[in-house]
């Protein structure tokens, strides 16, 4: 599988402030990479460099085998970007927004209505965007980002602040895009979302990539699964018991638990990506 996105020693700084500190990573074609990190970690600056909005101060971005700095226009024809902040033309309708961007991509035949139906905006397509709810605007942003059937899709906090229904519909679109073959770089604070959608996740902190792996491997490496049980003591009180999973002693410990204790309830528990992020960086994702 070839790489759709390659970041090679990318760096960007604003005066003395280093926003992105010589990071390198790659995203394979058809893969979803979740880029996680707190505000100010450098995620958005990284995406700006990868999408041609900003020229790296050092290193280079290679997309679809082409150096972004030298082939900006060509590469931009193959990518879609959904920004964190809503940046639609609010005095235009959804249809007008989509048709305008279709023209910029040189798309002659384009069924805007079908796309709007796909994101659940049919029936409101002729209303001005300024009358939309946040969720509707965000769905329109996602629709705009896939207008050109991009080979690489950048999504910056696509579900931030949305109701569960809107978030779910956007996640469905992300999955459909991946099934179509698109590569997705997903920036999010939502650990559950990253866990569900991403093939791999990259943790970013203070401008550096501090870990990249599959959610499963990260959990294996940094946070052990555990079996949590409540057992009844002789005097009838409930006490907690914990057995660490995925070790050589796990089987024996589980057997002993059930043999020696009066188990009332049992469930498994595993570390979240947030737990792992805190473990690695010493800070929370929302910090």
């Amino acid at each position: 599988m070839t790489d759709a996105i390659v970041a090679e020693d990318l760096a960007y700084w604003y005066g003395d402030l280093v926003a992105v500190d010589h990071i390198s990573f790659n995203v394979a074609e058809g893969e979803i990479l979740g880029l996680l990190g707190p505000n100010g970690a450098g995620k958005t600056t990284t995406v700006k460099m990868l999408t041609g909005l900003m020229r790296p101060k050092a290193g280079k971005a290679v997309l679809l085998g082409l150096d972004m700095a030298k082939n900006t226009e060509k590469v931009q024809g193959e990518i879609g970007v959904c920004f964190e902040e809503t940046n639609l033309y609010e005095q235009m309708s959804a249809l007008e927004n989509l048709r305008f961007f279709a023209r910029l991509f040189g798309i002659n035949r384009f069924d805007a209505n079908a796309l709007l139906k796909r994101v659940g905006l049919d029936g409101r397509e002729k209303d001005r965007v300024e009358t939309y709810s946040k969720g509707m605007k965000q769905r329109l942003m996602v629709a705009r980002s896939i207008i050109n059937r991009p080979r690489v899709l950048f999504l910056d906090e696509p579900t931030a602040g949305l109701d569960p229904s809107s978030s779910e519909s956007i996640r469905e679109i992300i999955k459909e895009e991946r099934e179509r073959g698109a590569t997705v770089l997903l920036l999010t604070h939502d650990m559950e979302e990253a866990d569900k959608l991403s093939d791999r996740v990259a943790f970013m902190n203070k401008g550096k990539i501090v870990a990249v792996d599959t959610p499963h491997n990260l959990k294996q490496q940094y946070g052990k699964r555990a079996l949590k049980a409540k057992v009844a003591s002789e005097d009838g009180k409930l006490e907690d018991r914990e057995v660490i999973m995925d070790t050589q002693e796990t089987d024996k410990a589980v057997q002993e638990l059930f043999a020696k204790e009066k188990v009332v309830t049992v469930h498994s528990e595993e570390a979240t990506l947030e737990d792992i992020f805190i473990k690695i960086t010493g800070r929370g994702l929302l910090g």
Partner: protein, 350 residues
């Protein structure tokens, strides 16, 4: 250049421009208001009172010499001086008691002309030439004056321009300039709302974005100003010269709008910057409306090179040969403002 892309942005910008009720309103109301002001102003030149103290009045001075100048006789030179100082008259003329004797002998009498401090340079020239004309009528001899003055005097004398026509360049320049609000706002809003980032991640080159914004700006400023000039008959003389000057003016306005947009964060800051620019740029036009109120320093104001060719072509029928130097200077300012504007906006987009 991808003209399809440029066309899409221009079309979008024009559509958004007229969806902004405030901007659309000031454009339409501005054009209509200037038209109304123009048409309610007097279409004739005002009659000017000139004080005259003459112990002996030559016959030529008694006859109706001009439909635009009335002589008002005063009793003494001191009274005349006081009246002129108080701006009761635009000028005061003192004819010596021996004026007729000197005319008869072929000698040149001493004629004093008093001007009030507010009397414009052009009015002084007109009065001076007018007196020389009367003296010629009286004696049949040409008074001594240099040829340059004669040409200027001949052009101006008898060709007094009604105030409302004098104001045409001012109105046209104001209409051109007022569109700075619209274009600067369109660009600032793109940056403020982040829509420019949406544009810059499409396969569109930055130069196409600037070309589109430039074309939008030129259309928005040129069309109302040209429409105004056409409606008020400002293009009866040398329409091509006037249109070209205004087109170059629209390019300058677009360049300034780029700069204003780069310096502004919101509509209030646009208002502040545009008002400053408008006041400065209106100065040369005011100078045309009220000749003599500005001096050589006005030549450093770029709009001087827009107003002057429009004024000269519209009012005196000046052709390319007369105004090409101003046009060239204007084109130079265009280049400077557009370049500076693009550099500043590029930095802002980054």
């Amino acid at each position: 250049m991808k003209w399809r892309t440029i066309g899409a942005i221009v079309s979008k910008d024009l559509s958004l421009y007229f969806r902004n009720r405030f901007i659309a309103l000031i454009t339409v109301l501005g054009t209509v208001a200037f038209l109304i002001v123009y048409f309610v102003m007097p279409s004739t030149t005002p009659v000017t009172d000139v004080g005259l103290y003459a112990p002996v009045v030559p016959s030529a001075f008694v006859e109706e010499a001009s439909e635009n100048i009335d002589f008002v006789m005063v009793d003494s030179e001191a009274v005349l001086r006081e009246a002129v100082t108080q701006s009761d008259y635009i000028a005061g003329i003192v004819l010596p008691a021996d004026i007729m004797e000197k005319f008869d002998k072929g000698e040149k009498p001493d004629v004093k002309i008093y001007f009030s401090p507010e009397t414009t340079e052009e009015s002084r020239e007109i009065i001076s030439l007018f007196i020389k004309g009367l003296a010629y009528r009286q004696t049949g001899q040409i008074a001594s004056f240099n040829e340059k003055e004669i040409v200027l005097g001949t052009d101006l004398l008898g060709q007094d321009i009604p105030l409302r026509e004098r104001m045409r360049p001012l109105f046209a320049v104001m209409l051109l300039m007022i569109e700075m609000f619209g274009l600067a706002n369109l660009i600032t809003v793109e940056v403020e709302r982040g829509t420019v980032q949406g544009l810059l991640v499409t396969p569109m080159r930055v130069r196409e974005l600037f070309a589109a914004k430039g074309i939008t700006g030129i259309i928005l400023s040129f069309v109302p100003a040209a429409l105004f000039m056409a409606l008020v008959g400002g293009m009866n003389n040398q329409p091509l010269v006037i249109l070209t000057a205004m087109l170059l003016g629209a390019v300058m306005v677009t360049g300034i709008s780029f700069l204003v947009a780069a310096l502004s964060k919101d509509f209030m800051s646009i208002l502040g910057w545009v008002f400053v620019v408008l006041i400065i740029m209106a100065v040369p036009a005011v100078g045309i409306m009220m000749p003599g109120t500005i001096t050589g320093w006005a030549k450093v104001i770029p709009s001087y090179y827009l107003v002057l060719p429009v004024h000269q072509a519209a009012h005196y029928g000046s052709g390319w040969g007369d105004v090409w130097k101003y046009m060239l200077a204007l084109a130079g300012f265009d280049l400077a403002f557009i370049s500076l504007g693009i550099i500043a906006l590029r930095r802002k987009f980054q």
